[in-house]
């Protein structure tokens, strides 16, 4: 039990079934502080569902998810965020009718209750922080632009920025470079390398080169179960993984 506290995130025996179909099946996974974990696996392996379960979007059927000793399965979505878990969705989900500045401002972790939001004032601290983040995500010249007018890649960056401004201890990214052009992909990789410092990150990614670039450890999911785990080299040479990816 004592060892459990050393992990930032401890998932044990996690199971979720949708009408009999076990999308995640008795999954156990530990993430260390400051660890970069890449989750790979074929389509339908349950990767996105695992993120959904951690951030509370889907309720687990069985099992536990402990984040810094707190049981996440018993918490509501916004409480999980407040506890320090940030999650980026697969398709860019940003507020298209608001400006880039407002998108970031809303994500700034202050005034999150109804009355807090009424009393919230745009002071210099907020403005400085927004500018700082905007520079990091290559959008510093576009603060007054409506987010709807951003390119696909810029929208992905904006969403990453919206997470960054919350400064989460655990950052979960669902295919952050999907649908990006080659140059955007490179810039994103640089961005991610910059922002993953000082926090734990779970990344779902198909791009093996990208995964190899950033991962400390890799987990391969298959049919809701962990197929293989370890560093990239080991996972790549695991016959079970080869079987799943190349066998048929």
């Amino acid at each position: 039990m004592a060892a459990e506290n050393d992990f930032l995130l401890a998932i044990e025996g996690l199971t979720v079934s949708f009408d009999g179909f076990r999308a995640v099946d008795d999954l156990t996974l530990y993430i260390d502080p400051n660890e970069i974990r890449v989750i790979i696996g074929p389509n339908g392996a349950g990767k996105t569902t695992v993120l959904d379960l951690i951030c509370g979007k889907t309720k687990a059927t069985e099992g536990s998810i402990k984040f810094k000793g707190q049981e996440l399965t018993a918490m509501r979505e916004h409480e999980i965020v407040t506890a320090g878990v940030g999650r980026k969705f697969q398709t860019p989900s940003i507020y298209e009718d608001l400006t880039v500045f407002e998108n970031l401002e809303i994500s700034y972790p202050r005034g999150r209750t109804v009355f807090g939001a009424i009393m919230f004032r745009r002071d210099q601290v907020v403005i400085d922080r927004v500018n700082e983040i905007a520079e990091m995500i290559f959008l510093d010249g576009l603060l007054d632009l409506r987010a709807a007018f951003l390119s696909h890649g810029q929208k992905q960056w904006l969403e990453i920025g919206m997470l960054l401004i919350q400064d989460p201890e655990l950052l979960m990214l669902d295919e952050p470079v999907a649908g990006m052009s080659v140059s955007e992909r490179q810039k994103t990789a640089d961005l991610l390398k910059k922002i993953i410092k000082g926090r734990s990150v779970i990344v779902i990614e198909h791009d093996m080169k990208f995964a190899e670039d950033i991962a400390h450890r890799v987990t391969v999911l298959h049919q809701g179960k962990v197929l293989s785990e370890g560093d990239m080299e080991r996972v790549k040479n695991d016959p079970k993984v080869v079987e799943v990816y190349l066998g048929h």
Partner: protein, 308 residues
């Protein structure tokens, strides 16, 4: 409230109210079937659904008049022809509406709701201008008159039985159409994944139009059946629309069986309470219960758990 009655009396009361409830059940099911297709499968809120039903009723009324005027010999079977006409008329209007209005609003369900409400106002006023503001009734053929005595106090009207049989037949037909025919498969494919359905060669636009048309056509048939147990007025459709939506939502929008079960529950509850309290209180209680249950189980009674 039960203490004033003996058990035998209570039994008869429930039997009689049960049958009254079955008439209401028929109306609910017939209206809800069309809605279950349009709302449950396509996700379109059609507030003018009641008016499509009333169109069927007016078509039946016209047929009844035509037959008694020109073909009195065939009067006893006019109803079956009227039903077909009602289906065609409401279905055609439905397809026209889908083409002119609904297809532009698929991504804006709340706006569809408002636009179809506007349509319902226009249709109501049209009926009022054409047929007058007063309710009209059709002449029921002789063989449908009268009642079957069941016990000394319980009698069942023949037209009621006829409508019941009709309801069951239409339900079975809809079931086969939706779940056993190629067209039904196409409809479900389009609702579940429009892009993919298009990619495998389904004409999604035509499927949408046909689905909407058939949903409206079934409403027309419902209106036709409705004339057998009640009279028709320009605003009769509006009276049932919210109840019917609750029926569909309560049953779980995309489940046909759920729709029928919920129509049965709601109509039986309402007509049983009605005997002991006033009609309005019965309705208030029923609606409140339904809304209350929906708050606890918003996805309806009969739905599968799926990943959102």
């Amino acid at each position: 409230m039960f203490s004033d009655y003996t058990m035998a009396e209570l039994g008869s009361i429930f039997a009689m109210q049960g049958f009254a409830g079955l008439s209401l059940f028929s109306v609910f099911v017939l209206m809800a079937l069309g809605l279950a297709i349009i709302f449950g499968q396509m996700g379109v809120i059609n507030m003018a659904h009641g008016e499509f039903m009333i169109l069927g009723a007016y078509v039946t009324y016209l047929c009844s008049n035509l037959f008694s005027e020109y073909l009195p010999g065939l009067f006893s079977i006019y109803f079956f022809l009227a039903m077909i006409c009602a289906f065609i008329a409401s279905g055609a209007l439905g397809m026209l509406v889908e083409w002119a209005m609904i297809r532009h609003l698929y991504k804006r369900p709340l706006d569809t709701l408002l636009a179809t409400w506007g349509l319902s106002l226009i249709l109501q006023q049209t009926y009022r201008s054409v047929f007058g503001a007063r309710e009209v009734g059709v002449t029921i053929p002789d063989w449908m008159m009268g009642a079957l005595p069941l016990t000394d106090i319980v009698e069942i009207p023949i037209n009621g039985i006829f409508v019941m049989i009709l309801t069951i037949s239409i339900t079975v037909a809809v079931y086969f159409l939706m779940y056993r025919s190629g067209w039904g498969k196409q409809v479900r494919a389009v609702t579940q994944n429009r892009v993919m359905a298009g990619a495998v060669g389904i004409n999604t636009e035509r499927t949408d139009r046909l689905t909407f048309g058939i949903g409206c056509g079934i409403a027309g048939v419902a209106g036709s059946a409705f004339t057998m147990i009640g009279s028709t007025g320009p605003t009769a459709g509006q009276l049932y629309i919210v109840d019917t939506f609750l029926v569909v939502v309560f049953g779980g929008a995309s489940s046909l069986l759920g729709t029928i079960a919920s129509a049965f529950t709601i109509s039986q509850a309402q007509s049983s309470i009605e005997f002991f309290l006033s009609g309005s209180m019965a309705k208030v209680l029923t609606l409140l219960t339904v809304v209350g249950i929906l708050m606890l189980r918003p996805q309806g009674l009969f739905t599968l758990k799926v990943r959102r």
